[in-house]
């Protein structure tokens, strides 16, 4: 099952912690301007998988990657690739909201500033635009100088989304973005993901199957580091090819 127009793709992706394999020969193609969900029981390797997509696991000692990861058809693991540059093209929203201990404004402006955009007018314009995109502007426009820790958990997560959008990525990775926030805040973030796919390619890891069904166009089901099934979300959730997938989505285990 391959998407017609893959923005990002893994081929034969293996991943090891020390010598223990965590991902085995994973082939997943993430279609451009679509949402691809990665589901599976705890410890199946879904977070590990999404963290290899922006090479965030490079910074974890004792890990090893094998295989090909393509972004627009180019292998991001080639020796010549500038990891810093391509990480800017792939935004990431983490499991636990991780605002920096700075003002709301400075959080969103952070990525612009480290990438060398200093013009005040431009930074202000981008901060407002991305906070609007993240559906947070109306709640924070009068308190941009407040510390980001004063926001609620759901607001912090939307702030992290705005912060990721500010550097104009092409792909956005969500690593269980709603696992630490309440249902109402979760609904807001799901709405947001729907809107984001018009402009970005989205990959989301979730342990919540309803969420995967609601937000994604394609779903990959991982178990014990292996890709069990990958296809259009509708098909996975109505007529799965594999018995294991069916058992999982009907709640027989996991």
């Amino acid at each position: 099952m391959t998407a017609a127009n893959p923005k990002m793709e893994t081929r034969g992706l293996n991943f090891y912690y020390e010598s223990k394999p965590a991902l085995k020969a994973i082939d997943i193609a993430c279609a451009a301007n679509r949402v691809t969900a990665i589901i599976g029981p705890s410890g199946c390797g879904k977070s590990t998988f999404i963290r290899t997509l922006n090479r965030m696991n490079d910074v974890v000692p004792g890990t090893r990657v094998e295989g090909t990861i393509l972004l627009d058809g180019k292998n991001i693991r080639d020796p010549g690739v500038d990891v810093v540059d391509f990480r800017r093209r792939i935004g990431m929203v983490f499991q636990k909201p991780n605002p920096f201990p700075k003002s709301i404004f400075d959080n969103v402006a952070y990525g612009l500033r480290i990438n060398g955009h200093q013009s005040k007018a431009r930074v202000e314009e981008v901060v407002e635009r991305t906070l609007r995109e993240a559906a947070l502007w109306d709640e924070v426009k009068d308190r941009l100088d407040d510390n980001a820790f004063t926001l609620s958990g759901g607001q912090q997560q939307r702030l992290c989304i705005a912060r990721a959008l500010a550097v104009e990525p092409e792909v956005i990775l969500f690593d269980e973005p709603c696992s630490a926030i309440d249902p109402i805040a979760t609904a807001k973030i799901e709405d947001l993901i729907h809107k984001l796919k018009q402009r970005y390619t989205v990959v989301i890891v979730t342990h919540n199957m309803q969420q995967a069904a609601r937000v994604s166009d394609f779903t990959a089901f991982l178990m014990l580091g292996e890709l069990v099934e990958f296809g259009p979300t509708e098909k996975i959730f109505t007529t799965p090819a594999s018995k294991t997938t069916e058992d999982y989505i009907t709640g027989r285990f996991g």
């Binding site: 922006n54 965030m56 910074v59 000692p61 810093v84 540059d85 990480r87 800017r88 093209r89 792939i90 935004g91 990431m92 983490f94 636990k96 991780n98 920096f100 201990p101 952070y110 990525g111 500033r113 480290i114 990438n115 510390n147 820790f149 992290c160 912060r163 990721a164 550097v167």
Partner: protein, 284 residues
Amino acid sequence: MKRKAAAEFLGFSLLRLALLLVLAVLVIFLWDIIRKGGGQLTWAFISQLPRRGMTEGGILPAILGTILVTIVTALLAIPMGMFTAIYLNEYAKQAGLTRIIRLAIRNLSGVPSIVYGLFGVILFVNLMKFGTSILSAGLTLGLMTLPWTVTASEEALKTIPNSYREGSLALGATKWQAIRTNVLPYALPGMLTGTVLGLARAAGETAPIMFTGAAFSLPFLPHSIKDQFMALPYHLYIMATQHHDLAKARPLAYGTALVLLILVLGMNSVVAVIRTRFRRKRRA
């Protein structure tokens, strides 16, 4: 039930007693020095040169000497210690060699200060030909302070959550950008605290400066960092044990001790102020 409660009471009482003992020692110690040295603490005492074989006059050269030596110590220990800590915690592979280096650094902090003194004589005074001077003594103390600075700075860096580093990297920061903009600013208060505690300890050391630059008596002020100098802790040692007229020197010894204490406590308070200010800024 009753027995449990009794055991609980006994345990708490023991812990309280231990705390009270520590406090009592501290209070008696401070009270003794303030009572006997307080009378000495005049403007003349801290602004004049010693006179009549150090039985009269002030201790200005010793105060100035200690301050100058501490500055040299700081110039060596602060940047080197912080950079080493940043390298060890942020860049070095957490494998065999790094662990050995870290262990060696921890062990160095247990080396007696007199050994550092001898090492300073060999390296700075003789080999590098800095002579017995402020420079040699300051560098020796700097080496002695380094293990403390490195360890304290590393501990401070460890308290910064990994999500700050990863969050920054994910936005396209280089490793150094992530460290400089999103780790160091928040680790700095902690790094500074540990460093200044180390400096305060160095300022009160006698053994490492005895052979490397401190003079028994120099009734004038140093002109350059290649000069010998008087220092408060060494002066105190002399006034308390080596002076030819111990009875006459005794009050001045207490005065010197008090000045040294004030200097060291002053350094620590400055850090406390900086730390609270940083913290307020971070939470604001």
